[in-house]
Amino acid sequence: MEAGRSPNIEILTNSRLLSLEGEPGNFTAKVYQEPRYIDEDKCTACGTCKMYCPKPVVDEYNERLDITRAPHIDYAQAIPSSYYIDPRYCLRVNFETCNLCAQTCTAGAIDFSQKPKELALEVGAVVMAPGFGKVDNSVLQKFGYGKYLDVVTNLEFERLTCASGPTEGHIIRLSDNKKPKNIAFLQCIGSRDETCGNGYCSSICCMSAIKEASVAKEHEPEVDVSIFFMDVRTQGKGFDDTRQRAEEKYGINVIKARVPRVEQISGKLALNYVTEDGKSHSDIFDMVVLSVGLESPEGAKEMAKISGIELNHYDFCKTITSKPLSTSREGVLVAGAFSGPKDVPESVTQASGVAAEVSEILSSARGTKSVHLAYPDEDKTLSEEKPRIGVFVCHCGVNIAGVVDVKAVRDYAATLSDVVYYENVMYSCSQDALKMLAQKIKDNRLNRVVIAACSPRTHEPLFQETMKSVGVNPAFFEMANIRDQCSWVHAKEPDAATQKSKDLVRMAVAKARELEPLQAQTVDVLSKALVIGGGVAGMTSALSIAEQGFECALIERTDKLGGNAGRLKLTNFGEDAGKILSDLMKKVSKHPKITVKLNTELDELSGFVGNFISKLNSAGNSEIFEHGVVVIATGGYEYQPSQYYYGESNKVLTQLQLEEKISKGKTALKNINNIVMIQCVGSRGDDLKYCSKFCCAQAVKNALAIKKINPDANIYILYRDIRTYGFNEDLYKEARNQGVIFISYNIERKPEAIKDGENIRVRVFDALIGEDIEIPADILALSVGVAPADNLKLSNIIKAPLTGDGFFLEAHAKLKPVEVAVDGVYLAGHAHGPKTLDESIAQAKAAAGKACIPLAKGKVSVAPIVSKVDKDACIGCGLCESLCPYKAIQLIKIDKKKKAETITASCKGCGICASHCPTLAISMGGFTDEAIMSQIHAFAESINKENV
């Protein structure tokens, strides 16, 4: 949670918006802020106040499953990292009695004189990201919630599985504290449910149920888990794959049925339900988890009134397909679940997208209000002194301390030479612990820091920043991962885990002794962008980059802009798709900062973030283009099926072809009365392993369009799971109301087409009647999904990896959905994976937002862990150059001899060159041979001891 450390983010907690006046560029936002009653700057988060407080309070962070006190902190890593007093329960606030906390707080942080404040903030734009609300308990009562203790919500279950949660990760029945033998997950609670007014699909609960079911099986392998679905909606990138693995690996039972209610029979929970074949079942479970959906945020109506924006019929923020991040008020933008249920990657994508959108509006004011953080000068004498090592052993709550004897590890560290300071820390990554760390480094003149905690992958930057803040070179840092590598994997062998922790600490200390200071480098950035691909995603990215004030070249392989969207007629919500595209094309071609290059491909790319050199090939003519960043928006293709007589019969069309036909109106549909649609043709297991996400809504959209022209048409949609997630569920419902017939088919019994002369019939197994039926088809429409573009060539040029399915792989599935492994390269649209038009637009904005960060900064700093060539030892064999995956090492001529040289800015510090160099001429910053050898020798010390 880096937000706590940014000098340009001011966090206002306990606050709400009172009013918003003004216009884009110049708003005045009035904000009401309730006091915390604890001074953030003075509080050390020691917890004494909570210990002495006599007032028990239900713990809302732990979903009311635990008890806390009036003064508390939600969780150890919370930001701000200070405690606060819940005024609803505090005796001092309400009755002027008690005051125990103030008397016991040694830091003098408790301040009951604090009063609510009203602030007036001058801002250029507003981003609405209030998230989602909770489904009312009255809806859950139908399923026994509140009546039977063993019926819990998905969020409550999440807290139960969490190691720092109320049960320390033990899954128990709340009625008798015993382990459940079997658990049922019920889907669509409070969503896809007209009776509670939530007709939409919440889009995320299928994933959360599968995740929680897998976690439950990992915690308690013998527990039996069943999930009751209507449709399994795991449409996100890679999600179907995970679902399948979870089903196979953990043996989770997937039951296609909607359970209407939960009853209790002699202490157990009884579920009665009907499966697709029409049979009734009655099963008994120890525990039931309700997959509760997302609702519009609490107070959405009032919030909308205050900020002057419109809501949709479900009280979510109203948006349109072409502007997924805009509200009805200019200058007020929206991101995340407020504009419709969405998961973390979608929300993070929108968050980056909305930042781009704001940056477009306020580009003239960029940098006028921001402040720069300066670090103190490095104390160079520290590195010349003898090692003074500080070892900090983290409890991570019970995550480590629950298994490893952390005190013993600390005491062991004390016995190692050069260790001058050692201590245990409850949560070493919490803000107060970092403050303490900085102080201890200063007090003890530490010039090496070893943290025995979790993974450097996630936490190293945090600790290094702290070292920088007190003038110590951040390279003097080493982590021992005693959480992942000890307490987690050896949870059942605490003694051995403790011994291994000691070994790791000894090795880390040995390496720390050999560490050398490294200097961070900065390079100037060429403030131009290259966008590859002229479809909707590419054009949107290019336009956003240009509107943010930077020059941009947009290259397109074919002779025209537009891509696949050129074939769309209407969006799912009835907007004119052609107009969206033509408006975009007009803006792109007119923009003075955009150069469009048609019939152009990227042949070569060299350089690194901030300084890329591209060789562009325009119909045979080569051209060099220099730029700072790259956006990949190469799109995808409509999958071309080889089954169901596609291409052999003119009655067999893809959904896009059908859409074109429908758009021609009545005459094109003359004499067409029976339409059969088959979903997942090619997708989800045939040629394409993944779900293409949009085809279910596309089929339903086309069905409704046909019904509009010919209400008597018989339309059959043969499907596996209907995945009309989010508000598209309205379309599905409407189609059912209008008499479109939905028949589900099983992967083992796929529908077959029978060609009889000119006529086509479709044979499908109907589970309800238990036999095959045959449907004559005047049109057979195939929902074919999207196949990746030929990304392999580009992947090799850019060195950006692909997924197994052939799409570009993002840097992190959750938190870096538009970045790739190569710095300065970003992703948008179908190049990343199948998605809908509005999702492509949001992601294209996000890619533009991320791409403009280095352009706006004008400089990039390069991580100092890079390779260094000892020119005297180098024999110029070139092995390193041929092996480097990042083009970061090259041969140059020095005195007529070939020598390798690192291109520091491109180097990722992977070490492949160093490990292959036949003369050991290459060393890695932070991982020198000396340091690694001492680490290995330190490991051997324990082996030798055991052998004696």
Binding site: N14, G25, Y61, I73, Y84, I210, A355, L362, Q548, G849
Partner: protein, 60 residues
Amino acid sequence: MAKKEKSGSVLVVGGGITGVQSALDLADLGYYVYLLEKKASIGGVMAQLDKTFPTNDCAI
């Protein structure tokens, strides 16, 4: 009449993962951000999650 100069500050309403990510990106893009949260700490619902789908990474 000369147009009033635009402000380089932004208000983000909501301190969940979406609000926090927007705030970070906006700060990186050169703007000053007020991050408004109705509760006493930021992080929203994601901070309550133990693991995340599909990689089962730690949510915090």
